[in-house]
Structures are given as structure tokens and as C-alpha cells.
């Protein structure tokens, strides 16, 4: 049963041509980064926040630079939260572009076939057409799925930053 699906998948990749592999690689990259971010926010970041709150107790309330120190801590944790987010955004932007690349290479394939066999054999062009359409579709799907989670991630980072700011204000 599983072999059947694997065969289907292989046939799908075969039809899509080499651009589909690029899209696939981007998708894997994108989702690894997204999952890594979610894991960081829900586990690592909490430890980090606890350490900051411990650390901040040593700063006296009448320090000349207390606002600056607070800003430093917020920014530092913000940088930590945001690592890789730009890369994720770029991957999402690039996905449709790679899909477009697939469209064009597929069209080149179609015209190559046309130059050899003439325009009367529509079946022989089907290969190029599927090479043009499948990567485009895949690129769109991955960009759309990525953009949903990326926006959620951005919102949760913003929320965490504001929360940290509030918590720090309470301490200092």
C-alpha cells in the first residue's frame, strides 16, 4: 500500500522535472526552520526569560542607566526570537519565483519538443507542460502554507516581546 503511494510520489517528481526538487528542498528548509522557531519559543525561550529575570534583580532601582539596560535586555531577547525569521521570509518570497522558473523551463522543454517533432503532436508536449505547471503549483502551495505560519510566528514574537517588556518594567 505504502509502495503504491511512493510510486505515485516518484511519478509526480518525475513529471515536475528538476525544478520540483528545488521547490522540495526549499519546502523542507522552510518547514525545518519554522518548526525550529516554534520549538525555540515554547521551550528555550522560557529558560532564557527566567535567566533574564534573575539577572535583572541585581540592578538597583536608582541606576542611572536602568532604562537603557531594560531596552538592551528586550532587544537582546528580540534578536534571539527573530533569528532565522528573515531567512524564512526570503524562502517564502523565493518559492513562487522558483515556481516561475519551473514554468519557463517547462515552456522551453515544450518548444524544444515542438522544434523536433513539429506542432501537430500534442501528446509529446504534455511532458513539458507538466514540467511547467507542477513546480508552479508546488511553489504556490508551499509559499501559502509557509506564509500562514510565518505570520503567526511574527505575531507571537511581537507578543512575547511586549510581555517581556511589561515584566521587566514591573521588576525595575
Amino acid at each position: 500500500m505504502i509502495e503504491l503511494y511512493i510510486d505515485d510520489l516518484l511519478a509526480f517528481f518525475d513529471k515536475g522535472g528538476f525544478v520540483l526538487y528545488i521547490v522540495f528542498a526549499i519546502a523542507i528548509f522552510l518547514w525545518t526552520l519554522l518548526i525550529e522557531r516554534y520549538i525555540y519559543i515554547s521551550f528555550e525561550y522560557k529558560k532564557h526569560k527566567k535567566a533574564i529575570l534573575e539577572d535583572i534583580k541585581n540592578v538597583s532601582k536608582n541606576n542611572k542607566f536602568k532604562d537603557e539596560i531594560k531596552r538592551y535586555l528586550v532587544e537582546d531577547s528580540n534578536i534571539r526570537l527573530k533569528t532565522g525569521l528573515d531567512f524564512i521570509k526570503t524562502l517564502i518570497i523565493v518559492c513562487p519565483l522558483v515556481g516561475l522558473l519551473g514554468t519557463v523551463t517547462g515552456m522551453i522543454e515544450v518548444f524544444d519538443v515542438m522544434a523536433i517533432t513539429g506542432s501537430n503532436n500534442v501528446k509529446s508536449m504534455a511532458n513539458g507542460v507538466s514540467m511547467a505547471t507542477i513546480p508552479t503549483m508546488a511553489g504556490m502551495v508551499i509559499a501559502l502554507s509557509g506564509i500562514l505560519f510565518e505570520k503567526r510566528l511574527e505575531l507571537s514574537i511581537k507578543y512575547h516581546k511586549q510581555k517581556l517588556e511589561l515584566e521587566l518594567s514591573k521588576v525595575i
Partner: protein, 437 residues
Amino acid sequence: MIKYILTLCLASTLAFSLNLEGLLQSVKNDANKELQVEKQRLQEFIDNKNEQATLLSKSKKILSQEEAESEKLKKIIDANELLLEEKETELSTKAASLGQMFGSVRQSSSDFLTNFQNSLTASQDPLKEEIFTKFANSKKLPNLEELTLFWHSMLDEIIKSGNISQYETNVILNTGVKVNEEVTRVGLFAAVSNGKYLTYSNDMKSLVELAVQPNSNVLSDARAFEKSNTIENITVDPTRGTLFEMIENNPTILDRVNQGGIVGYVILALGGLGLLVALYKMIVLNISSIKIKSQIKNIDKPKTNNSLGKIADIFYKNVNDSINDLEIKIGEAILRETNNIKKGQSFVKLLAAVTPLLGLLGTVTGMIATFQAITLFGTGDPKLMAGGISTALITTVLGLITAIPLLFAYTYISSKSEELVSILEEQSIGLLAKTLK
């Protein structure tokens, strides 16, 4: 003297006249004798007159007999003639279908010959071509033995076209050298030696290495197939060599790039420039990032070889000023360093944005060329339009191919410099203040 001579003449005349008289006498005698013989013969004829008559009648009788005989034989000849005619028509009807058969033998052998001359099996058994050539060109009717040979050769060819065999034969390499090599033949569809695909050339009467081989995956498959004794994957050409020959016409990457035309070269040049700038920026930013990171660890000992060190230096020198004065002084220093960090970044972004646009420009110019071709030659021949279309498509591809890495490079540069700027702007005072306690 004359007297003597005259005397001699007289004497000889005398002697001669004597002789003539003798002659006359003998002639008369002979005539008499003959007359007598004639008389005798006449008498004889008269005597035999009756006998002649009987002979005549006898001869007439034989003649009539012979005439009757001839009549009889003539009838037989006529009858035979009729029979012969009958038999001849019979023969011609029978020979007609037989002639058709020989015609078809000739035709099928010449058909077979043309197929055989292009087929890979010809390399295995070059003598077989002679058999087919002989049948195709012969004017006389083949006998039963030859027909059987033809039949068996055809069957042999059919069997060979369905099997995989290894044998030694002459191969002409790409360098033009003729060598004797072991060849693996897969039916009529592929022949491989030393991991290279071969094709059969009838002009050379030998296998020839393909000038442009299929890609390396296919070749390594073929090599594995040659070495193994079990069934392995191998790429064959179901069109008996036509597709392999078409590989030669397939444009290489360089051909493709050349199809892009001027716009294509401009895109590539800009892409190359952008990547160089991006690479330079990456190296510079990484070096300053490493320096700043090491400075963060030793924030109380400022070094002036990095941006944070310079700011820290100003901070420590003016730490006793009021916070406003300190912030103004540090802000000035930060502005200077930020400029340095962000320099060149927007150029990469510009190129990342411009290359797809240039690709679009190429698309449009290519389409213009295509439509010009259509106005000149009509839509009849798609090959005339192919030039413009390939320019259009290739420039788009080039635009995208250069834009995508530039985009990644820009993201890297901008996030890195963003991080550095944020360290300088937002954190420097806080970081430094923290060390004071």
C-alpha cells in the same frame, strides 16, 4: 649454215606428217569402237524396257504408301500441337503465381536489406548482408535451397532482435581509431562497449561511437549492465538510434545562454557583479560581527578596531557626563558606524529587483522578434519563430536564476547588518551600563 637448218626443218616436217597420219588412223578406229559400244547399250536398253516399267510401278506404289504415312503423322503432329498449346497455357498460369512469389521474395529481401543495413545486428554477422543483397538484386529465380536459406536468415534476424548478446567486433572510436572490442547488444535498440553507446554505420560496415553520449547516469547504468550477468536497468532507444542521434541537436547550457542575446549577457553581468558585492559584504560583515562578539565578552577593555569598541571607548571617556550628553555623543558615533555597516546593501537589493525586470525586458524583446518573424513569414513554420521565443524564455530564466541567489544574499546581509546595528543602537548603552553595576 642455212642449208643445214632448212634440211633439219624438212626432215622434222617429214617425220611429223608421218605421225599425223597415224593419229588420224587411230581416231577413226576409236570412233568405230565407241559406236559399237553405243549400239550395244541401246540394244541393252531396248531389252530392259519391260523391266523399267515394273520398276516404275513399284516406285509409284512406294510413293503412295509414304504419302499415306505422312498424312497419318501430320494428324499426330496436329494433335500434339494442340496438346502442347494446352500444356503451355497451363504452364503459364502456374508459372504466373510462381513468378509472383519470386517477386515477393525479391521485394521482401530488399526491404529486409534496408532494415538490416541500419540495424545493430548487422555488426554481429556481416556476412548475412550478402545473402539479402544477392536475393534483392538477382534476376534469376532462386531455388528451393536458397529460399530456405533466406527464410532461415530472416528467422535468425528476428531471434537476434529479441535477445541480448555479447560479442567481439570492430568499433570506430571518436578519435577515428578502429579497435576490436567486446560489444553488448540489446536487441535492435542499443549497443554498448566500455560504457559508451554505439551506433551502426552502414558506410563503414562497423559500429561507431556516438559523438554526443547521453548523460552520465545513463552511461553508468550501461556500464553496470555490461559487467553484470543478471538483468539490470539500461536505457535503450526504442526508435533504433534516432533519439540517440537527436541528443546531438539538444542545445547545451552554453548554447542556451547564447540564445538569451544581449539582454541575457547584461543580466549575467549584473548578476555576477551583484554576487561579488554580496560576497564582499558578507565577508566584511562577518569579520566585524566576530570582532563585535569578542568585544561584547570583554566589554570593559575597548579596542578601537571594531564599531562597538569605538563606542565603548567614547562611553568610558564620558561616563561621568549627564545621560543626555552621553546619549548625544554615543548617538553620533553610532550613526557613523551604522553608515559603514549598511553601505552597499541597497545595491544588492537593487540588483535582485532589477534582474527579473531585465528578464521581463528580454521576454518582451523576444516576443517582438517572434511577431516580426510572423509578419514576415506567417505562422506556417514554427521553427522561424523559435529564435525569438527562446530569447524570451531564456532571459526570463536567467533573470530568475540570478535574482534568487541575490535575494538570499541580500537577506543574509540585511539580517546580519540589522543585528549589528541593533547591537550598536539599542544595546550598546545598556550593555555598557550593565558592566558598571
